[in-house]
Amino acid sequence: MRKVEPSRLRAFLASVRLSLLLFLADPQWVIPATIAPVIFGFAAFELYQGSGATLVLYAILGAGMMSMWGQTLYGAGWATGQDRELGTLEPTLSTPTSYLWVVFGRIVVNAVTGLVGGLVVFAVVSFAYPHPLPLHAPVEFVLLFAFVLVTLASVGLVLSAVYVYTRYAGFINNFGEFGFYIITGSMFPVVLLPFWTSPIALLLPPTWALDALRYASLPGYAGFGWGFTGDILGAVGTMLVYLAAAGSVYHRVEQHVLTVGNLQEY
């Protein structure tokens, strides 16, 4: 018999491919990926359109972020939950590939569809708003938009381990989702939140990345005291911590589920 060696890249790409196929095969994702962001965007536009272009931009950025985060976390987490439901978690874990790479592939697909959602919001509101949106640095804006997604994915990677850990992860996810919108400053500036939330906010890479994105998009924006560079460093630093933690978290979760023997439960 021929001995085979799995590669992480192969597993990652296989996961990306399967996620895309499942995504396209199940039209329910059209709603969170494209329709919901447009509704968020219009709601933000209606609320802020009389307040000037800068506030409109702030609001649609928040709406875009919400859709991206929702798609990243919910989609990635649910993909693992779906493995439980379909009974595919056991066959997947019986392969020599670490499940972390499978989840990573799913998160990337969901993050990209989230990015599409965020861009849909931006495009729709730009079209509907009578004045051009005052993007401070358009190139940096696009790059940072993608960067925010990467930071969201790093958090999603750690949180999706909960779906491997327990079949009740959906409850935890739904509970945490809205808190995350608020804490990271998606909709409201972090400085408006109670003081005790700040340390939590600063532990989340998207908080920093969102602030950097606003520096690049809003003229005269004054965010955290560390400025744009400080935001980038904060985002990269916290993101690296999350990525490093993901490997350890997945190893521990895998050991736990093999101990309790709940892989087949859904």
Partner: protein, 326 residues
């Protein structure tokens, strides 16, 4: 000496479950209680046992999907706990059933995904998938969505997936459960073909005839312990012979049953009630004991029906499982 394909020593597995919210009540269930097992390379080994006996638990531990509570298990010379990632590329697992497949994509896509997770070389991947689909009889249905598959087709896809990476050892957990007779027969034929190719097979099943037809050796697992391991012929001797007499009649007295038990060559007497009718089953070791000798031991029963048949694996299994104390 050839190393064992599977070697298990004093393996135990305890499940803990919690009930309640504030005041958790922890229930411990011993699924395996000190299992010892040795399986040779190239052997088709069957594991029989009633529901909840621990068959699937043992199969999952040996295939690295569950950690044992104590004891040790080595598969293909590798420890199932410490060497799990290395072992996974050398073993195949077929859990079967309706679940375990991505049903919104085709059978071929399912195999493609798992081929990548097993690291099958890209150059070989498509040809291997096509070959496996043909081999399990899904050649024409490979590009259909799995949700359109029948139960038998899904089972075939499970088999194809389990064999895609050409494992040296295959775990088959009740591979024919729920299949129609034709599909079940095809599956058994396929399993025999794998054996002839040198694949070691660990089969758990509820079906006695399947185990009898396929397995070279059989272990009977009852309440988490192996109560017997041998070939079917060896198990027959263990439970008292390969001849079985069945006596159907009415109103037997205890003294008559005792008389039957005292007959030379009778090793075991089992009774079953079918409404008012009683069936007495005798396990017979001696080739000399004749049916009319048995009938003569029950003189007051003119309506008696006495017949002889070969001791079936089901008889052996029931004898062994019912003997095991709680």
């Amino acid at each position: 000496m050839v190393d064992a394909a599977i070697s298990v020593r004093q393996l135990t597995r305890v499940y803990s479950s919690r009930k309640g919210f504030l005041f958790n009540e922890v229930t411990r269930t011993e699924a395996l209680r000190g299992v010892d097992l040795e399986i040779a390379p190239g052997e088709l080994f069957g594991l029989l046992g009633p529901n909840g006996a621990g068959k699937t638990t043992l199969a999952k531990i040996l295939s690295t999907l569950l950690l044992p509570s104590s004891g040790s298990a080595r598969v293909l010379g590798l420890d199932v706990v410490r060497d799990a990632p290395r072992l996974r590329s050398r073993i195949g697992l077929v859990l079967g059933g309706e679940r375990g497949l991505y049903y919104r994509v085709s059978g071929r896509e399912n195999l493609r995904y798992f081929a990548d997770l097993y690291g099958i070389p890209r150059a070989e991947r498509e040809s291997r998938i096509t070959e496996m689909l043909e081999r399990v009889g899904l050649g024409a249905a490979g590009d259909q969505r799995v949700e359109e598959y029948s139960r038998g087709m899904k089972q075939k896809l499970h088999l194809a997936r389990g064999l895609l990476h050409q494992p040296e050892l295959l775990f088959l957990d009740e591979p024919t459960i729920g299949l129609d007779p034709k599909s079940a027969r095809e599956t058994r034929k396929f399993v025999r073909a794998l054996l002839s190719e040198g694949v070691t097979i660990f089969l758990t099943t509820h079906y006695m005839f399947e185990a009898e037809e396929l397995c070279q050796r059989i272990a009977v697992l009852s309440k988490g312990k192996i109560v017997a391991t041998d070939s079917v012929a060896g198990l027959r001797q263990l439970v008292g012979g390969d001849r079985t007499f069945e006596i159907d009649g009415y109103g037997f007295e205890d003294a008559e049953l005792a008389r039957l038990k005292a007959l030379a060559g009778v090793s075991r007497v089992v009774t079953e009630e079918f409404g008012p009718r009683l069936r007495i089953t005798l396990r017979v070791q001696s080739p000399e004991l004749e049916l009319d000798r048995v009938a003569r031991a029950l003189p007051g029963h003119p309506e008696l029906e006495v017949r002889e048949r070969r001791t079936a694996l089901e008889d052996i299994y029931l004898d062994l499982v019912e003997e095991e104390p709680a």
